[in-house]
Amino acid sequence: MGRGAYIRRRLFLTVFVLFGVTILIFGMVHFLPGDPAATLLGDRATTQNIAELREQLGLNKPLPEQYWMFVSGLVRGQMGTSMQFHQPVRDMVVSRLPISIGLALYAILLAAFLTFTFGLLAAVNKDTWIDQLVRVSFLFVLTMPNFWLGILLILVLSLGLHWFPVAGFGTTFTDHIWYLFLPALTIALALSAVLIRNLRSSVISTTRSDYVRTARAKGLLERIVLMRHILRNAVLSTVTIFGLQFGFLIGGALVVEIVFAIPGLGQLLFTSITSRDYPVVQAITVITALMVILVNLIVDLSYSFLDPRVTYG
């Protein structure tokens, strides 16, 4: 099977996966305890207020009817109206999605830089103090909760050194890059802590291969041996782990968006879950699932670029 056919098949299967996701998320949010109407109206609500709002929001309709409205709307690109914000969910998602994607891409770039820099550094200096320092430092990072790491970075780099703003998103593109550095770094540190360990082990293991010994015997420069022969083969498992970690990256981004007050999908999802804003929760969950599926598809496709021996089908 060629690459094109493989992509088409994966995209076709994606439809079924997303269908399953819609059933799962619809069931989960609707069977969660808690009444959206009561939550939205707050402490001053009377039972009559709550009943009226439930009727207005269509919450008294049979669940299959509500599900059909949700799915049929999704197919038409309509995601309903937010109960909390009284705005079309699609408009809210469209305005926030680029922010979250931007943050995720920024974090991935930083994570790639950290992973390759420190993973290779630890591998080529195996069992030296450099190796130990890298491993211990990132093990320490791995054990820290995201929100705590974020606050720590704010205390040091924002309040202490005044290098970066505390929170927010900025107005211009340059502002966005500056404001998002600390949030992206927070996510990247957590992600690279896992990837560095894997890359280090993978590089060390690949270094012992016969073809590496041959490359060295041929007199190639060490950096060419490292970059062209070792790294290219060692990175395959790291890419796999990245694909698996992407879902956790999205979860981490949610916490980071709250800590750094970034108006992205994560923050919106959090407030929508707590207020039982079903249309928003459902829409964001489906979009997130789609992102995870697409990223894993890209990861799978990347294998054939990294290793020409990999074929599909």
Partner: protein, 353 residues
């Protein structure tokens, strides 16, 4: 009786009409110091100075109000100089913020109370002896000191410190002996287990519950703290499927009619079932109706005081503390005030360079 504002009749009923556009309300100019031109929920609120304000023109031409849910982030932004004022400062950070150069933190007196809610339909909370015993066994000073860092006053009257509050209310002073005697005379002299349902997003209430667990253990009540998310908590409270919980109230108006009707009026048609405690005293309901209609201030005050005394005695709530509103601001901010009804008075604020 005491309207919070005066508006055209069609404006008051327009919001009930299907398809009402909320954004219209945000493009309206009132008589206050600031106005808005538009707002979408979730976006910052931008207040523009009203040049026709009936008092002196406000010094600040624009106020941007941004919602930042995380307490730490709000305070860090203030410390980093990225914002001038933050509200809802955690009580445990007020003293620390006052030691930070260029930052001031404090408490503004508002009409706010915090209390425990007892579902009087759940035995043995249907026993008035038990409810009064829980009140007498509550050391309010200890809770105010530990949870609110001394920034509060014991709640002796059942309504916030506003108009017609019963200033002479005896309240429930901490009296362990009296609490034990009431328990001995109650339907559960050997004590009982009391599930206490809490929303997990309010650390002050969780800490209060921990202290109550310790205090009430001395009268044989074993508090079983159950934390759930806010929506679940609210649903249980509304449905009356809880035993005990903690809550708070902030007055929207300076007349007791709102709190009295919400907190003390019970039965079908009350709307709130006496702040969801399911307490229902038909005689008290009638007294409330009469008090609401009373035009003479002296008789009105006497009526509301009598209502408060009766409700206090019936102890559907565990009365804990009167609290203020916390805020912090930078050095360049002068005159910031949260008034007694929790309005933020930006028209009186000036900024120095």
């Amino acid at each position: 009786m005491f309207p919070a504002w005066i508006m055209q009749a069609d404006m008051a009923t327009a919001t009930d009409q299907p398809g009402y556009d909320d954004s219209l309300a945000w493009a309206s100019r009132g008589t206050g110091g600031y106005y808005t031109t538009s707002w979408k929920k979730g976006d910052p609120v931008i207040l523009h100075r009203n040049p026709y304000y009936w008092k002196t023109t406000p010094a600040i031409d624009e106020v941007d109000i941004e919602s930042i849910p995380d307490d730490n982030t709000r305070i860090l932004k203030l410390q980093g100089g990225e914002t001038d004022v933050v509200d809802f400062v955690p009580f445990n950070q007020i003293d620390a913020l006052n030691t930070f150069p260029g930052i001031h933190a404090g408490l503004f007196p508002i009409q706010q109370t915090t209390f425990g809610m007892l579902n009087v339909t759940m035995p043995p909370l249907d026993d008035i002896n038990v409810r009064q015993a829980l009140n007498y066994a509550t050391d309010k000073d200890a809770i105010i000191k530990s949870v609110y860092f001394g920034q509060g006053q014991p709640m002796n009257a059942p309504i916030p410190l506003g108009t017609y509050v019963d200033k002479e209310s005896p309240g429930y002073p901490f009296d362990l002996a009296k609490a034990q005697a009431l328990m001995a005379a109650s339907s559960v002299p050997n004590g009982f287990t009391l599930p206490m349902l809490l929303a997990n997003n309010n650390q002050d209430r969780i800490n209060t519950a921990i202290i109550l667990k310790d205090e009430w253990s001395k009268i044989g009540v074993n508090v079983d703290i159950q934390q759930v998310d806010n929506a679940t908590w609210r649903a249980a409270r509304t449905a009356g499927t809880y035993n005990a919980t903690l809550s708070a109230w902030t007055n929207d108006m300076n007349d007791p009619t709102e709190i009295v009707n919400y907190e003390m009026r019970g039965g079908p048609g009350s709307g709130s079932f006496a702040y969801w405690t399911r307490y229902n005293n038909p005689q008290l309901n009638e007294q409330i109706t009469q008090a609401d209609l009373e035009q003479d201030p002296a008789r009105r005050e006497a009526a509301y005081i009598a209502i408060q005394r009766q409700f206090l005695n019936d102890a559907a709530l565990v009365f804990i503390a009167n609290l203020g509103a916390t805020a912090a601001w930078g050095d360049r901010v002068h005159g910031f005030l949260i008034d007694g009804l929790s309005y933020y008075r930006f028209e009186d604020v000036t900024l120095s360079n």
